[in-house]
Amino acid sequence: MRKSSYKNFPDKNGNFGQYGGRYVAETLMPLILDLEKKYLFYKKNKKFNDEFSELSKDYIGRPSPLYYAKNLTEYLGGAKIYFKRDELNHTGAHKINNCLGQVLLALRMNKKRIIAETGAGQHGVATATVCALFGLECIVYMGKKDIERQKPNVFKMNLLGAKIIPVESGSASLKDAMNEALRDWVSNVESTFYIIGTAAGPHPYPMMVRDFQSIIGKELKNQIIKKENRLPDSLVACIGGGSNSLGLFYNFLDDEKVNLYGVEAGGKGIKTGQHAASLSAGKPGVLHGNKTYLIQDSAGQIKEAHSISAGLDYPGIGPEHSWLKDTGRVKYVYASDKDAIKAFKICCKLEGIIPALEPAHALSFVLKFASKQNKKHILVMNMCGRGDKDLDSIAKYLNIKI
């Protein structure tokens, strides 16, 4: 009997198995139902897709190259390592793929006011960028703690004309920024479109964000066949909310010979409780409109996440990942702050690429994993962001004054 496709999810109610769904206040329900309807319409609309493709090419700079990391491959002496270079996108990360898609949808829904949450600031910058491009008002909610540690991105958003609202409630980081953005949305339902930055939130967001990001894996499939004449043996990506990894994995979900690895942020170590590894150390619950793995206490209160990387510092995870974990299709591991910094340094010196701290987590896994594979093993890692934004954090961690 033929197994059903992993790509048939979510179902019509937005469920990936028991995960996902629409856990929002009644005021927002009609809005997300409308959003779903519009998204499903435009997803098949030629004009919409043509505009998305054209701007992906000319504005973002897609397709992003597939680069053979020869020095790293030789250094590790195992698998042949490729980087999918999404850090070369306009604004320096994969985030803009999704922002472009959602803003094109917002324009068609006649919404002139855009709101977003941001952690590392990459999604905020990408949202501010597309809003500048289309002349839309842009409001970005950002935790006060993140504003401190991501100053260059805050400055960029200001230059792009966005208004940044510091969030002081709760732990003053990404989850609280998302709470505030949801409160804004419920207060400005007529005028506002909420661009969620990761593959989480109420349906249709997890599906929509994944679809817009799936361009990464789609390109990769063509590129790797041209270079190697076959599919890779493994794909590796870091996971905060999980959008770059789903973007990479989605078109390979049904190619069961391709092993998929998601790398969460282990922070200071799982045992310390200071981490952001929702899948490795959390349990299923409901937050921000979806059912998914969450870092929480036994009473169901959400705990603060910790990671040196602001982009991974989130106590939840996209619901599709929760489902892919339970089905066993994707293997989830984690890397500590310390391991990520080590991988970061190796990448700078060996490949001349300064990675963001997020993909440095993925790279940390690659360092351990690739050396154990034979030379025929082909591995592709998503280099989903560049490290410019993290220089302050890294210098601070290493006790270096710049």
Binding site: Y23, A25, K175, D176, G300, I302
Partner: protein
């Protein structure tokens, strides 16, 4: 119609042509004993239904006042178990005033739906309102609730269409809570007249009591709304009195009860 406390309460008020005064407090803000003292005193001061907030770390539909209240409560050691104990303690002295729990789904899910419903029933809870559990995702809980006779109270809002109102109604009992504005709790009401229009538009479809809450921050507004609504919910404004009490070290109990009495007079005028 069954003889639940909520039904009895609303029928009595209907005979007197009165609107229900529903007062909201967060469980254990600032302490278990203060919450208990307040809810015990409320019925004598004109509160018809008590609504108790179950604190949650990420209350995405609440404004700053209730957010701070939830944080204070969690710091004071509030939990779902303590919230239920609070109701149990209250029930030992009062067997007629309905108690409704309001909050978010995750703490309930973690306790276990069956366990929560059983404990709520045993404690004397009459209704529950879960903000982030619209009818589409509440099958599991509804199944558990059906046997318990605890009412499932749901929200309707200015964005609710007639079509949705039908499905909300099907999945509700006890009463329906109309969110007066598109916004979070404690938001400013800009157009008080449009509330009546929107409320009346949905009211004609609803065959159970239909109350109004969110943003009712003065006895005057409560009075205006009580003239046509089946009930008026006051929350953030009462909780502000707790904050004031903490800030200027005045008597929290007297602060809150004085305001409760003002609202009660305004609603029953």
């Amino acid at each position: 119609m069954n003889n639940s406390r909520l039904n009895i309460c609303f029928s009595k008020l209907k005979k007197k042509k009165k609107s229900a005064f529903i007062a909201f407090l967060t469980a254990c803000d600032p302490s278990f004993s203060m919450s208990l003292k307040l809810i015990k005193a409320m019925p004598q001061s004109g509160v018809d239904i008590i609504e108790i907030g179950m604190p949650f770390s990420d209350p995405m539909a609440d404004g700053p006042v209730i957010q701070r209240s939830y944080i204070r409560a969690l710091k004071s050691g509030s939990s779902l178990i303590k919230t239920l104990n609070l109701v149990k303690n209250f029930r030992s002295t009062n067997n007629s005033t309905p108690v409704v729990l309001m909050g978010y789904y995750n703490p309930i899910l973690q306790m276990g739906l069956k366990k929560f419903i059983n404990k709520a029933k045993a404690s004397g809870v009459d209704g529950i309102l879960i903000v982030d559990l619209p009818p589409e995702v509440s099958d599991e809980l509804s199944l558990e609730l059906d046997a318990s006779k605890i009412d499932m109270i749901r929200l309707a809002s200015p964005t609710t269409t007639i079509e949705r109102m039908h499905s909300i109604l099907k999945a509700s009992s006890g009463f329906i809570y109309y969110v007066s504005i598109t916004g979070v709790t404690g938001s400013k009401i800009n157009k008080i007249l449009s509330i009546k229009k929107n409320y009346m538009y949905l009211k004609k479809l609803i065959n159970i009591p239909f109350v109004i809450g969110f943003g009712i921050n003065s006895p005057k507004k409560a009075h205006d709304i009580s003239r046509y609504a089946d009930g008026v919910v006051v929350g953030s404004d009462l909780i502000k009195e707790i904050e004031k009490g903490i800030e200027n070290k005045s008597n929290i109990f007297n602060n809150v009860m004085n305001l409760v009495k003002k609202y009660s007079r305004a609603i029953n005028k």
